[in-house]
């Protein structure tokens, strides 16, 4: 069940290194959470609410319990410990008690010998609901998860030119390809081992154990192969459920969500409504940015408080803004719960802020890139939260480098229809096709913010193998979700321990090492590099103390914890920093986009993307450009096609037939320039790179679409109706 130890043969920090899990992944041997097998295992299934708001009067499990192959049917009464859990607040029931608050909320669990038996038994569980009127409109929500207002300078400061706008974003899904899955195995002594696809092993354990009524030592979480995450695996899915079924039946229990269930099985990107007003002098200096942001957090808190903080903190973009009033509110509704997704609040406000900057450029008759350069923030400048930029944030350099990437000339007609809007649909010969070029800039924070004790442990065991070669075995709980942190671990060990013959990366588990923190917030490369480096240096010191060599059978074993600098919460009244900075560091990206639109059919084609990104130091350049290309694709999806459709809180498009994500035909070539200005506080100067491309790409594509159509296009995803009929 546990992944075999993996060996890293080549590569130091800064080199493009082949993924060490590439071979098992191309041969089909790599064990994803849905591939796990244990002798005698049962299959679990979740009974979910068909209502977005209802009272639950009772749950009858009698019929289901008597069905063939069924070993257990559990309800909230069977939760052995705490009945609620949550990332920030324990507000989410393990299984619904007297009410359900969102479509797909778990109500009961079934374990059976065949997944089809489990599905049928789940359908036979009778739940007595009294449907209630759902709160489906965020503007009508009564309760806020968090309200944060940033008051900076003179909030009423005027400008000579004012532009305003209203912007809206739909709900985006992470749509990772590997649905939520895991295997829970009872240990025969009252404890349980859970093999699961997740982003943070230890925080899973700390939520699971209290609900099982077990001490943390009896709940061991092991990383199974993760088929993508993008924030959607920060919250728990099957962990407690699988463990309850396994402990109840004393059999291993596997749970694998199907795609429809996956849409209800994790939190999504917050849909947003944003009202923005930008004021500037006639020569283009921003004087005041005013923004109201409404985030729909859905039914439970998840990480809405932090998303709210980010949306507000980065609302004005990486610009020098002397005065600002930014009001952000994240509310509870009966819509699908929202939480972490790549870009985490910054995506939403970047979309609005960059549209505003384009509007301002038009009003000032100024080149949009020049306007951005004129207002670019730099080291030593102050953000609207009062935080000074102390580390690296090369905004102007990123803008100039991106602007200098030459975009391709317009391709002539006639041409193969696959290179026209509508593509393989062969819908046009090009008659109604117009071209547009757009530009945007975005930024966000790196690492956890606002006083969170964000740390990362790593353990290095150095030993001499039978041939006398030194081998470094690295234990880390850092979740490899596809981003390549396993390579970072190996590269750091190779760099810091040049005397070793090989690096072996041990399975990621809560049982062998302390917490690595989450593979989120573009933090894991920074944090894990820091922890592995510290452990390697400790090992090296000890090796020197022992004369520089180890006899076969001897070993050195050191665990170290790395922390980034401390942060402090924003003031709840003013949104200003309190005892220290609120955010650790920042990274920015600029993007230039060429689009074509068919104004007769409303179809779009993104032709080309050029981007420059502030990466600090490219630890593995091939992986960095891979993150930029993939992050851009997710922003393209939000711009053009991705939205969870709801009606009174019910999801109506929970499939890949109806929720579209970009295909090979939708993605243009992405030219990426890496701007390497080291972040001095970070190990090797490296910033995280996963999120900036997603933050900026939606805004950049919309800028190009506006250029092509002349329309305001204030809502994403853009639909054919928004473009057609020019």
């Amino acid at each position: 069940m546990s992944a075999p130890s993996r060996r890293l043969e080549l590569g130091r920090v800064g080199e493009s290194v082949r993924r060490i899990d590439a071979i098992p992944k191309v041969t089909g041997e790599f064990a994803y959470a849905s591939d796990l097998f244990a002798a005698g295992m049962l299959f679990g299934h979740t009974v979910r609410s068909p209502h977005s708001a209802a009272q639950v009067k009772g749950v009858s499990t009698m019929e289901a319990k008597g069905m063939p192959g069924v070993h257990a049917v559990l309800t909230h009464r069977d939760v052995p410990g705490e009945k609620r859990y949550g990332l920030e607040f324990p507000d989410q029931p393990v299984l619904a008690m007297d009410e359900v608050r969102y479509f797909g909320e778990p109500v009961a669990l079934v374990a059976a010998e065949h997944p089809e038996q489990a599905r049928r038994a789940a359908a036979a569980v009778q739940v007595d609901y009294i449907p209630q009127k759902p709160v489906a409109d965020a503007e009508k929500a009564k309760e806020a998860v968090r309200e944060l207002t940033i008051r900076h300078g003179d909030v009423d400061a005027a400008g000579e030119v004012t532009v305003s706008g209203y912007y809206e974003l739909g709900i985006q899904d992470q749509a990772f390809l590997g649905p939520e899955s895991g295997l829970a195995v009872p240990d025969g002594k009252g404890g349980v081992d859970i093999y699961v696809a997740t982003q943070w092993l230890h925080v899973d354990r700390d939520q699971v154990a209290p609900c099982l009524g077990l001490p943390p030592s009896q709940v061991r979480i092991h990383l199974a192969g993760v088929g993508g995450a993008f924030g959607g695996r920060e919250d728990l899915s099957m962990q407690i459920h699988g463990a309850m079924l396994a402990l109840q039946t004393n059999r291993p229990v596997k749970m694998v969500y199907n795609r429809e269930e996956s849409f209800a099985g994790h939190v999504h990107r917050h849909p947003a409504r944003i009202w923005a007003e930008h004021r500037a002098t006639r020569d283009g200096k921003l004087t005041n940015v005013r923004m109201k942001i409404l985030l729909d957090g859905g039914a439970y808190a998840s990480s809405s408080t932090a998303v709210c903080s980010n949306a507000a903190s980065f609302a004005a973009g990486p610009y020098n803004v002397p005065n600002a009033l930014i009001e952000c509110r994240a509310v509870f509704t009966n819509n699908p719960p929202c939480g972490a997704m790549r870009g985490f609040g910054a995506v939403q406000t970047c979309f609005a802020a960059e549209a505003q900057m384009d509007k301002l450029a038009v009003a000032l008759e100024m080149d949009p890139v020049e306007l951005r350069i004129k207002n670019a923030i730099a080291q030593g400048d102050t953000l609207p939260t009062g935080q000074r930029i102390e580390g690296s944030l090369p905004v102007e350099e990123v803008l100039r480098r991106c602007a200098a990437i030459p975009e391709p000339d317009a391709e002539e007609l006639p041409r193969d229809p696959i290179r026209l809007p509508g593509g393989a649909g062969n819908t046009t010969r090009g008659d109604g096709v117009r071209r547009g070029v757009g530009f945007a800039l975005g930024y966000k924070n790196i690492c956890y913010s606002e006083g969170f004790d964000d740390y990362c442990a790593a353990r290095v065991r150095l030993y001499a193998d039978a041939g006398g070669d030194l081998i470094a075995e690295v234990h880390s709980a850092a979740a490899e979700v596809g981003q390549g942190v396993v390579n970072i671990i190996g590269q750091v060990a190779r760099t810091e321990l040049p005397e070793i013959a090989d690096v072996v990366i041990a399975p990621h588990s809560t049982a062998a090492v302390g917490s690595a923190g989450s593979s989120s917030a573009s933090r894991q490369t920074w944090m894990t590099a820091g922890a592995v480096r510290a452990a390697c240096l400790a090992v090296r010191d000890e090796l020197e103390r022992r004369g520089g060599s180890l006899a076969p059978g001897d070993e050195i074993d050191e665990e170290r914890v790395y922390r980034h600098r401390q942060t402090s919460p924003l003031d709840p009244e003013t949104g200003q920093i309190t005892t220290g900075p609120a955010h650790v560091a920042f990274a920015c990206a600029a993007m230039k986009v060429v689009v074509e639109v068919d104004v007769e059919l409303g179809l779009t084609r993104v032709v080309w993307v050029g981007t420059a990104q502030d990466v600090g130091k490219a630890m593995n350049p091939q992986a960095v450009s891979g993150q930029i290309e993939g992050g851009t694709a997710q922003g393209l999806g939000l711009a053009l096609m991705e939205e969870i459709q709801t009606k009174d809180g019910l999801i109506t498009n929970a499939s890949f037939t109806d929720y579209l994500i970009p295909t090979a035909l939708d993605m243009p070539p992405v030219i990426s320039e890496l701007v390497e200005e080291p972040e001095l506080a970070a190990p090797y100067g490296a910033k995280g790179v996963g999120e900036p491309p997603t933050v900026v790409s939606t805004a950049a594509i919309l800028s190009a679409l506006r250029n092509a159509t002349g329309r305001e296009l204030n809502r994403v995803p853009v639909k054919p109706d928004d473009i057609v009929g020019l």
Partner: protein, 151 residues
């Protein structure tokens, strides 16, 4: 019911329930979990296999329909412990991130290159448009196909 089929050159048999897909039989009965299940409705291509040499989504084929037929999965592409050139190219170019889509994309690429040994960029994009990837943005997958075509 009992089905007998040839998988990756080996004769195999399995006792299946009539409603089970070829994908379920491969993964749960025949010990071949390389083909992935991501959508169960033929939209994502993660379960792509060759059925009598034709590229299909194994989730849309009943196990019973494969009775008497020949199936090739990602596990059957390499020979004698060495990688198929398409597998080698995916590993080398960085076309693999989380890798969940990779087996299906590799089988689809093997199918493309068997039909079109030197595909144009447009042919590559169209041929792989039935295989969703959420991590890479496809650029390095295209690099892999071009590299494999040249090898």
């Amino acid at each position: 019911m009992r089905v007998a089929l040839t998988v990756n050159g080996e004769p195999m048999e399995a006792e299946v329930w009539e409603g089970e897909s070829l994908l379920y039989a491969l993964r749960e009965h025949l010990g071949l979990p390389g083909s992935k299940n991501a959508c169960e409705q033929g939209e994502c291509g993660s379960c792509s296999v060759l059925l009598d040499g034709t590229l299909v989504c194994a989730c849309l084929v009943l196990a019973a329909q494969a009775d008497g037929h020949e199936v090739v999965t990602v596990e059957g592409l390499g020979a004698d412990g060495s990688l198929h050139p398409v597998q080698e190219a995916f590993a080398t170019t960085g076309a693999v991130q989380c890798g969940f889509c990779t087996p299906g994309l590799i089988v689809a690429t093997v199918d493309l290159l068997a039909r079109v040994p030197d595909p144009s960029d447009d042919e590559i994009r169209e041929a792989l448009s039935g295989n969703l990837c959420r991590c890479t943005g496809y650029a390095k997958i295209f690099d892999a196909v071009r590299m494999a075509a040249g090898s």
